[in-house]
């Protein structure tokens, strides 16, 4: 039985509700106990981390202190939350001065004892692929998947210290364990433009468009993601990109938790696919998965 502190972050209760729903269902089924961190605060991935070093570390500090006190590893399904938590942990573990300053702001000191894991890594490593394979009820046979890691899951390497930065494979291997096939493609860790979502939409359309079209060209049926921001861009902007380029893309964007959920035998309703802009149901039905 794996027990983890769960830091859903703000997106999981709004645009990425389906990620939260599927994560909770899947974890329960697998026997991963998620303890939602009581009174969790914003991770600081908004403007905080670029405007104030102290705020950037103080916001995640509360969460880290909770993990340290209770001696439970924490996981976040959101790459931005994960990144902030992991970087703050790394900074305070290596920069004594910052650790003390943050201690003053927060009112209690963090001692560097937390362990921060991305949800995708939990499935791959903490739970383990062999255990996961054993749980598969409905293998995702015939489904071609492009794994999109985004910019934050493997970077910066000294903080993430996991898999290869440029060509990570852990999500590919996870999806393979579920019975699906993964495609080789070049945009695994490219920027989707999320940071410019509101300020420079053209840039986002270009970057996201490149990712989508490369996945399509490389033969993917769906893209699997593990970040609500990646999902928001790739999913919600697809129609606009199609309209601009005049080319049909139609690539459903599926969360890693939903992917596992499908293999565990859950249906479209359980996985809240109706919340997606690009409907995955059609492709999944074609492949005989739903």
């Amino acid at each position: 039985m794996v027990k983890l502190g769960y830091f859903p972050g703000c997106s999981l209760s709004s645009t990425a509700k389906e990620y939260d729903i599927s994560t909770r269902i899947v974890c329960e089924d697998l026997g991963i106990e998620l303890v939602e961190i009581p009174h969790w605060v914003c991770c600081g991935a908004t403007s905080a981390h670029i405007t104030s070093d102290i705020a950037a570390n103080a916001l995640p500090a509360k969460t880290l202190i909770w993990a340290e006190k209770n001696n439970i590893p924490i996981t976040s399904p959101c790459s931005a939350c994960f990144s902030r938590l992991a970087i703050a942990h790394h900074t305070m573990a290596t920069d004594e001065e910052m650790r003390k300053d943050v201690g003053e702001v927060v009112g209690e000191e963090y001692h560097g004892g937390a362990k921060v894991l991305h949800l995708a890594r939990v499935f791959y490593e903490t739970y383990g692929l062999e255990a996961l394979k054993a749980k598969v009820k409905k293998p995702l046979k015939g489904l071609k998947v492009a794994s999109y890691y985004g910019c934050l899951m493997t970077r910066p390497p000294e903080v993430c210290d996991f898999d290869r930065i440029e060509n990570p494979m852990f999500m590919d291997k996870t999806v393979q364990a579920l019975g699906a096939e993964t495609v080789k493609w070049g945009y695994k860790t490219e920027c989707c433009g999320a940071a410019f979502s509101l300020t420079k939409k053209e840039a986002v359309l270009k970057l996201t468009g490149d990712i989508l079209s490369d996945a399509k060209e490389c033969g993917a049926d769906v893209i699997v993601v593990a970040c609500p921001l990646c999902h928001a861009n790739l999913d919600s902007r697809q129609r606009e990109i199609e309209r601009k380029s005049g080319k049909k893309i139609g690539l459903p964007i599926i969360y890693i938790s939903q992917m596992i959920g499908l293999a565990l035998g859950y249906n479209a309703l359980d996985m809240a696919f109706k919340k997606h802009f690009v409907d995955p149901v059609k492709v999944l039905k074609e492949k005989g998965i739903l």
């Binding site: 440029e166 060509n167 080789k184 070049g186 490369d214």
Partner: protein, 658 residues
């Protein structure tokens, strides 16, 4: 009472710009024993040295202190001046007020002046205790050892041999030739590398004064300048070279397919019994025991069966010999930077991303593809090629902030050769800056761009990824300020240079210092570019710093001339700064005997008073190197070190703390 002269150097403004030299000289005159003190612009200049000589004579000085730069720079100069003035050369001391004071305390002139006064005072205290020492001489073994059989080693060996001295070249590979033998053409003349190298290889092998020891390594070093005792290990080649007639049948018939050719940068297989390349010198095969079927499974012995002269000897053992040499030239060359460090270029993952040396082998007509440049993945001819410069050069984040000096040039060369062989291909080069400082170098790069149509893009590549059978190279073009993507068939990484992996351990054998990358450190960056801090050990070629062939050959010649300078004397002067034992104080505990790294201490039963034999230590003058380990260890203070004596050091300590 000592009569000391203090000479304060301005070193132009190097010292005088920070330190109040007049005050230092005035202060000197207040110290006991100091009879004379002056300051002067350049003490090391001719008039400066003459001033010392005059002063010694006029004021009957018996010891001098020169307050100037580091003794590592000019100690010899002022010792000679002392001698010319008629006093013993070891009655001179220096105070280092440039490197250790004015240059590092320029932010606080008062503090620097006070420190200069103190440093001078310490040297005065030390010289007060100096003793006249007589010169010591050692014989010189006029035989040189050159380590590394590349162009640097070959050139140095030929130059020494031509002057009439014996030279041994030790090479770890089965053939001499080194990196230059792997290259196709050379910049900026585009003449063929092998055509100019192979005659030199043959000349070295046939020279009556040169002995080649290939497949060999230096394993132990003892002794000192003029008298090195060096252990050389010859690895078992499993072939009796006296019987072998170099017919090559063994290689032809060898069935092993396990090994990849090191010479071809692992893009082609090689047999278990092999010569690295057809023009190898000596042209005798060796058996790679890790790839040989017989050594791995106990069955095969085909080479033994086909050999017409029964030259195969599976029972051959490694042989270690100890030989005497007077001088050593280190010429171990370079490795190329590990491409795997750049994960974003996908080397190792994408077969068509190759290193620059692999490309040399591909375009070389004696290479595995006979000069046809093909993709390693599907053997198709590439239409679009991209070179990425500074792979492991000028990149602080990868621990390589230095410029490798040759990559700009060989990139231009490789692209031009590609255009010559296949005029229709497109060649792109991503660069940071073009560094083409050399005779006809800039013209060469211009020619690549203007006449050959190689397209230069100023910027770094951020990522390479595979799409179907193409490589997508994404980078920045900083001149147009845009991102570019090139659909390439092949990418060549212009790897920077770094020292050989085992350079550090070799340096440690010789106690030669090396920098953080492993390049051997020369004695002085400008004035001692081929010497090392270890007398009698010289450096040549890329093992000292990145350099191209002309510079390497020039440095090899310089190293050879230094060796010849050493060999021109029958006997050479050595420093008498060695340990001595006071037998009356010695308790015979043998501690010094046990700590001496050179076995320079001998225990003897000595008559210290009439009829009384005492078990005491004795220093063997010719073996002692003056490290002082015995002095630090002696319980009864019976051993002392000339030039760094107990009283000298304690007086210096007292002066500092006053």
């Amino acid at each position: 009472m000592a009569r000391i002269g203090v000479f304060v150097c301005h070193c132009g403004t190097n010292i005088a710009g920070v330190v109040d030299v007049k005050r230092v000289a005035e202060y000197a005159l207040t110290l006991p024993g100091v009879k004379y003190a002056i300051d002067y612009k350049y003490m090391c200049s001719d008039p400066g040295q003459n001033a010392i000589i005059e002063a010694v004579k006029e004021h009957k000085l018996d010891r001098i202190v020169v307050t100037a730069c580091s003794p590592r720079m000019h100690e010899g100069t002022f010792r000679k001046a002392a001698e010319r003035s008629g006093i013993n050369q070891y009655m001179s001391e220096m105070a280092n007020v440039r490197e250790h004071d004015s240059w590092v305390h320029s932010d606080d002139k008062e503090a620097a002046t006070l420190k200069a006064m103190k440093l001078m005072e310490m040297s005065v205290a030390k010289v007060r205790r100096s003793e006249a020492l007589s010169k010591m001489y050692a014989t010189v073994e006029k035989r040189a050892l050159v380590i590394g059989g590349g162009i640097a080693g070959i050139q140095a060996a030929l130059d020494i041999a031509e002057a009439g001295h014996k030279v041994v070249i030790v090479e770890k590979d089965p053939s001499i030739g080194g990196r230059m033998a792997q290259l196709d053409k050379t910049f900026p003349t585009l003449d063929c590398s092998a055509c100019i190298l192979t005659p030199k290889m043959v000349a070295a092998s046939q020279h009556p004064n040169i002995e080649l020891r290939v497949y060999s390594e230096v394993v132990e070093v003892n002794g000192y300048v003029g008298n090195f005792d060096i252990k050389i290990k010859k690895k078992a080649s499993s072939v009796d070279n006296k019987k072998c007639i170099s017919c090559g049948v063994c290689t032809l018939k060898c069935p092993s397919k396990r090994a990849q050719s090191e010479f071809d940068e692992k893009i082609a297989p090689r047999k278990a019994i092999y010569t690295p390349f057809p023009q190898a010198v000596p042209n005798k095969p060796v058996i790679d025991r890790e790839a040989c079927t017989f050594f791995l499974t106990g069955k095969c012995r085909i080479c033994e069966k086909v050999c017409p002269t029964q030259a195969i000897d599976f029972n051959q053992q490694d042989e270690v010999v100890t030989e005497k040499f007077g001088a050593v030239v280190l010429a171990t060359g370079f490795d190329i930077f590990d491409s795997n460090v750049y994960g974003e270029y996908g080397y190792g993952e994408y077969k068509d991303v190759v290193t620059s040396l692999q490309f040399e082998r591909l375009i070389n007509s004696s290479g595995p593809t006979e000069g046809h440049v093909v993709r390693l993945s599907d053997k198709k001819e590439p239409k679009n090629l991209v070179w990425i410069q500074c792979v492991g050069s000028r990149d602080e984040s990868k621990g390589r902030p230095y410029c490798s000096r040759v990559c700009c040039m060989y990139t231009a060369k490789q692209a031009m050769l590609m255009k010559e062989h296949y005029p229709e291909v497109n060649c792109y080069v991503f660069y940071i800056d073009i560094r083409a400082a050399g005779k006809n170098y800039e013209e060469f790069v211009q020619k690549a761009q203007n006449e050959y149509g190689v397209i230069y893009l100023r910027g770094r590549v951020s990522k390479i990824y595979e799409k179907k059978d193409k490589l997508i190279v994404r980078g920045a073009d900083t001149l147009s300020g845009s991102q570019v993507e090139i659909v390439a068939d092949m990418v060549v990484l212009a790897n920077g240079l770094e020292p050989r992996k085992d350079a550090k351990s070799l340096a440690q054998l010789f106690h030669v210092s090396y920098d953080q990358y492993g390049f051997f450190t020369e004695l002085h960056p400008k004035l001692g570019p081929v010497e090392t801090a270890i007398a009698g050990v010289f450096v040549a070629g890329a093992c000292q710093a990145c350099k191209d062939i002309p510079d390497t050959v020039a440095q090899a010649g310089a190293a050879a001339s230094k060796v010849l300078g050493l060999f021109s004397k029958e006997k050479m002067e050595v420093e008498p700064l060695i340990a001595k034992v006071d037998p009356l104080v010695c308790s015979g505990c043998e501690t010094c005997y046990n700590v001496c790294p050179y076995s320079a201490i001998e225990m003897e039963d000595r008559e210290v008073s009439r009829g009384n034999l005492k078990h005491v230590a004795k220093v063997l003058d010719s073996v002692c190197k003056g490290c002082g380990a015995c002095v630090g260890a002696c319980y009864s203070k019976a051993v002392d070190l000339k030039g760094f004596s107990e009283r000298q050091v304690y007086d210096q300590i007292e002066t500092v703390t006053q």
